[in-house]
Symmetry: C2
Subunit: 417 residues, 2 copies
Amino acid sequence: MSTTENSQQRPLEGLRVLDLTRALAGPYATLLLAGLGAEVIKLEDPVGGDLARDNSPYVGRDGVVVERRHADDISISHLTRARGKHGISLNLKHPEAKTVFADLVKGCDIVVENFTSGTADRLGVGYDAAKAANPRVIYCSLSGFGANGSEGGKAMDVIIQALSGAMYTSGAPGEPPVRMGVPMADMLAPVFAVIGILAALEQRHRTGVGQHIDVSMLGALTSFVAIENWSAMAAAGMPSRTGLTVQRLSPFGVFECADGYIALVAVHDKLAAGLFRAMGQVELLQHPQFATRDARVANATELEARINGWSRQLPVVDVVAALEAQGVPVAPVRHPEDALVDPRVMARNETMPIAHPSYSSDIDLRTAGIPILFSGARTGFDPVLPVAIGEHNSDVYARLTGYSAEQLESLKRQGVI
Amino acid sequence: MSTTENSQQRPLEGLRVLDLTRALAGPYATLLLAGLGAEVIKLEDPVGGDLARDNSPYVGRDGVVVERRHADDISISHLTRARGKHGISLNLKHPEAKTVFADLVKGCDIVVENFTSGTADRLGVGYDAAKAANPRVIYCSLSGFGANGSEGGKAMDVIIQALSGAMYTSGAPGEPPVRMGVPMADMLAPVFAVIGILAALEQRHRTGVGQHIDVSMLGALTSFVAIENWSAMAAAGMPSRTGLTVQRLSPFGVFECADGYIALVAVHDKLAAGLFRAMGQVELLQHPQFATRDARVANATELEARINGWSRQLPVVDVVAALEAQGVPVAPVRHPEDALVDPRVMARNETMPIAHPSYSSDIDLRTAGIPILFSGARTGFDPVLPVAIGEHNSDVYARLTGYSAEQLESLKRQGVI
């Protein structure tokens, strides 16, 4: 596990999270809390555990592999999402589990779950049960459509992307929608969940009591889509999807080079002049089709063709250099593997390496960090990982519930933990 | 302004934010704080104010228009992003501004700025100045590449999208990258900024002092991209971009209908059987190319062609109904205008209406709400908007700084406010 060198405290130190989540959305919420310094206790079913343990690819003694070969191969998903979390097991379907859950909640500030809506209550581990055990607890539910809503279909990322309108904001008119490669629905809901949890903590300082936080994947992503006023744009005759460029701001967008693509923005006269100089076509500055901002917008298709006609002849690095020399905002369109190792991003721990606890890897297993820097605190993950299900049962149960070794042994024999 | 009917307190009530931000990223951060109950004081330059005031389209006495026609037309961007905020003016370039800024900061818990990196310090309104005035203040800087980094080019959303790798996670191999229509870089950094601010508030309860929070647009979006382990996937021979479908999970992704598109997920045997029944092609269950999960993945292109061959004949509504009847996860790919009025989303205030303070509109001006529900608190925006620059100068300056009417008049004459 990587942590920063900084020896300062982390912002959420002293807070404890009981983490009932699985897959991606929930575990990412508790990952953020762990990286901010909360103690996160990941609770898994004794049989099978988190589904993400079976996500390909794996890493282990043979390096990175598509199919699990050895018992100690670990899914890279698990290695990423369970970092810095302590692992315990509890079979929530067992009749004894409710009591154990209540005993755990007494020692926790926060509970997070992302079961299908209604499941936590049915299992007896919903907010009401948690509150009865600990009125100060902040209990966060992540679901597809809201904690009290009837499920309108399975809440997988691609389903939520489709419903949210996000797929139709990308791509060109007349072209198919675009499935975003980053699982935005899965990732965005947990970020709002963390905001809800921290806001409720602030309120708890005033009131002394906790509450239930309810975040939906559909709502989180749709609220992002809604920052543009689509109905007003349609009423004003402005197209809602425009592909790689935005012609009403022309020249603006993504252009082709000999070996890749670049993004550029040259909306204003001064920037357009810089672009034309970079292109070696200063005569365009006087050209009636391109001399003014209005003219460039009116002749955007022709202008874009001329830019592409120039940039296609050159490698990305030359186009970027030529535009930078003229002060025109420009960037290469980078592949994720290149983006993740940007020195600025690595220096700030916005991406960070992970490693199998026992085996090194030739591949740079780089993943998401905490993209927030604090002047008076550090972020980062404790060097702990639930490699096996229930890895930290003895320690955690003893600390939180006071159960004796005999009691734990008995719970294990009964299949409770 | 719309608020919820709930009369409970909001989670961040009692906290005050001095908001120096402009454009989108910063104002969205303070919008979230306002919707969670903080008092937000939007500070604008007396001349011109926030750039977003000049964003087309506008709304006013003629309804929604592309170009401003009347003095009281308001940009819908401003109406959206300045909701629930009090407006004051201050010319930060005036020599007297530093004193006024310090007097304001004394009465605030939080300061947020998104100037180009280094500008706030140069103006004398950076963290050091704020801390000298109020050691408890939490000061958040939003920038393209980090508060202490040299600017690596202009940090516009499309530039950050290009650098982050996000553009290359969407689209099909061999096809161009995809510019996301939702300004993800502009929107994601402020969400992490709010997490940073709230985490620092929690720490302040322990330590009594504030700190500087530093969030970069590049880091926030790159950390999202980094949740997938791109290098490991490449090493395992798994393609990084796969277009509308994901063949290693086939059938999974977006398919074409006669009048639009749907997303479906039928990874497992049971779901695949449901799909084949919905298609009226139960014989595929026995077909050697499609009978098992491995076979379906191996023959994904052929399978996708068959699904599209069926779905293209039917309207979206029929394909969705047929798949739902078989329990197969499916959703229509909706346009943003349809997505924003989903009854579930409207009921939860995840999208909410806005209106010009004086004129009604035939167009549903629906925008982002706060996608978090609290059982013990409400969210929503106070019915306040800085229509004019410095709209709330008298009230806010009197409350926060105690300046007399004469002092304010003098500051105005000198061009300070």
